[in-house]
C-alpha cells in the first residue's frame, strides 16, 4: 500500500539552528500536507502544497512529486518549535484521505 517515510525520526537542535525534515512517499502523491503535534496535543496544519515551494513565517515546504519527496525547513528554531512534525500525502484523483508518516520528533534546547 501507500507509504510515507519521514526522516530523521528524531532531531535535537540548539535554539537558533535550522532544521530540515524529509518526507519520501512510495507512490504518486499529488499534494503534501505538513502538521505539527505537541505530546497529547492536536494536529495543527502548517503548510499544504502540491508542488514547488511554499513559505509561511519561518517554515518552508518544498514538494517534488515527480521524485516522490518533500521537505520542511524550519529556520532559526525556537524552544517552542519542539514537538512532532508529521508529513501526510494525498494520492490523487478523487481520493481525499491522507496517508501519514510516523513523524519527526524535534527537540530544541536552549
Amino acid at each position: 500500500g501507500q507509504q510515507v517515510q519521514q526522516s530523521p525520526a528524531s532531531l535535537v537542535l540548539q535554539e537558533g539552528e535550522n532544521a530540515e525534515l524529509q518526507c519520501n512517499f512510495s507512490s504518486t502523491a499529488t499534494r503534501l500536507q505538513w502538521f505539527y503535534q505537541r505530546p497529547g496535543g492536536s494536529l495543527v496544519s502548517l503548510l499544504s502544497n502540491p508542488s514547488g515551494t511554499k513559505h509561511t513565517g519561518r517554515l518552508t515546504s518544498t514538494t517534488v512529486t515527480k521524485e516522490r519527496r518533500g521537505s520542511l525547513h524550519i529556520s532559526s528554531s525556537q524552544i517552542t518549535d519542539s514537538g512532532t512534525y508529521l508529513c501526510a500525502m494525498f494520492s490523487g484523483g478523487s481520493n481525499a484521505k491522507l496517508t501519514f508518516g510516523k513523524g519527526t520528533k524535534l527537540s530544541v534546547k536552549s
Partner: protein
C-alpha cells in the same frame, strides 16, 4: 470559529462495552474525516463523508465499527463490543470541499478499553 469539536475528550470503557464518539466539523465545511492514532501504527484513515454521504470507508474495521453523519453539524463513530486493541486516540477532521482541500483536525478522543 471554534474549530473541530470532539466529545468526549477522554473515555474509558470495559471490554465488550459500546463507545460512541462525537464530532462537530467546522461550520461550512462539507467533508468530515475520521482517523485513529496509536503509538505503534501511527495515524490511520478510517472513513470519510462528504455532504453527509459516506464516500470512503476503506480504513474501517469490518466488524464492530460504524460511522454516521445524520446532519451537517455532527458525525458519530460507534465501536461495539470494544476490545483492548481499540484503545487509541480517535481524530476527526473537516475540510471545505473534501478532495485535496486542507484538512483541519479536532483535539481527538482518547479511548481506553480495559
Amino acid at each position: 470559529n471554534a474549530g473541530v469539536i470532539q466529545t468526549p475528550r477522554h473515555k474509558v470503557t470495559g471490554k465488550g462495552q459500546e463507545a460512541t464518539l462525537w464530532c462537530e466539523p467546522i461550520s461550512g465545511h462539507s467533508a468530515v474525516f475520521w482517523y485513529r492514532q496509536t503509538i505503534v501504527q501511527g495515524l490511520e484513515f478510517l472513513t470519510y463523508f462528504r455532504n453527509q454521504a459516506p464516500i470512503d470507508d476503506s480504513g474501517m474495521p469490518k466488524e464492530r465499527f460504524s460511522a454516521q453523519m445524520p446532519n451537517q453539524s455532527h458525525s458519530t463513530l460507534k465501536i461495539q463490543s470494544t476490545q483492548p486493541q481499540d484503545s487509541a486516540v480517535y481524530l476527526c477532521a473537516s475540510s471545505h470541499w473534501g478532495g485535496q482541500d486542507t484538512q483541519y483536525f479536532g483535539p481527538g478522543t482518547r479511548l481506553l478499553v480495559l
